[in-house]
Symmetry: C2
Subunit: 246 residues, 2 copies
Amino acid sequence: MNARFYAPSASVVGSEVELPEDEAQHAGRVLRLKAGDSVSVFNGHGAEFAATVASMTKSRVTVRLDARAEAKAELAVAFTLAQAVLKGDKMDDVVRDAVMLGYAAVQPIVTARSEVSLAALTRSDRHERWQRIAVSSAKQCGRAVVPAVASPVAFEGPTSLAHLPSPQFLLVEPGASNATTAVSGVAPAAPAALTLIIGPEGGWTADELQRCANHAHPLGLGALTLRADAAAIVAATALMTHWKLI
Amino acid sequence: MNARFYAPSASVVGSEVELPEDEAQHAGRVLRLKAGDSVSVFNGHGAEFAATVASMTKSRVTVRLDARAEAKAELAVAFTLAQAVLKGDKMDDVVRDAVMLGYAAVQPIVTARSEVSLAALTRSDRHERWQRIAVSSAKQCGRAVVPAVASPVAFEGPTSLAHLPSPQFLLVEPGASNATTAVSGVAPAAPAALTLIIGPEGGWTADELQRCANHAHPLGLGALTLRADAAAIVAATALMTHWKLI
């Protein structure tokens, strides 16, 4: 199988495009490709190409786009993950897994029980790191789309997420509320897009649950007590299965 | 919430039982409990108790079982995970997640493309480590059952797994075979027990797929390309959703 590279500027067959710095280093230092080698290229917006290494210097790699190739199909439902930022580097795994599971976008949120503040996040380089992880996960799982990882926002109820797709499903851990819907109770017709809102390690506060009550469907997953960093995988898989997407 | 301890010998209300060494250390050195403190105890076979610390020395902790308590309900279907041993410590995460998702048992297997040999596994302490991880995951997610982690076996086709529950579902990655059934095509009536067979990072060989053809249902998960260590989570969630168990 040819090596596969992310080239966001790839667009017109026949043209030559330069690989981003990370990708150029990978092509040169790690894979030791040379001019004339066949590669695959995707642009992160859904286009996949058969390509050839056109030129290669220490710091710069260009590829010629030879032909469009069939891109891996995206899910019929565009899932957005509104995920409370988790402790340590767990959020890295969540972003990686969300891309692998087919999420269309990730919106990190800071909730009442998040252990990191929005100010601290903004000062750090974590947002850029999540974006890099999204690229690398898309490379690995063969998607031609790199899901956008938005800048973190504070979660202060439904208005904080008004820019995200509806319907919105708020994942609620067992025992936190008796008003949850099981996945089997979700409407059988899949929407074109939706947002899954997932809390931090400590869960939602009663105040957060109440503020969302009329805006997001409270979703339960039976009696499962999940790790916070597995919730996005399990909830998306359950909804995809419910709607027969997988 | 009271601290919760694993005491495999806990059985008769009114009796005193000694905690295993790990648990005793946790109670003493970490939590600094003392005689008279209320705790919860589970025996790993499905029984949960309200208990009281009866005596506490440096090396030995006994608890008195005061009353039976309601144990967390187990899934209506007993899932066994026959998982190819993964690289490094990824299998640790798989065991932890399998317990969290409600699997009833784990059977590590060594397949053609496993990167570890059965002999090397047998010499190492990994089997004991997985058993400890199963206990700690059950503690964390509130299950009163600790799933058994069996000794690893070589996977040489269906006879290697004849001791495991049927029906058997072999998870097949996209592209490896065109004979897969989607989850939505699985029979709608849930069996009482089943085995999910999941391959290593490198997937199944054509030979393995063929040998299983008449014995295990080849299960596909749409076009998803999963990390090997996420497959057990995704496949179980999909089947649980299909059968409306969550």
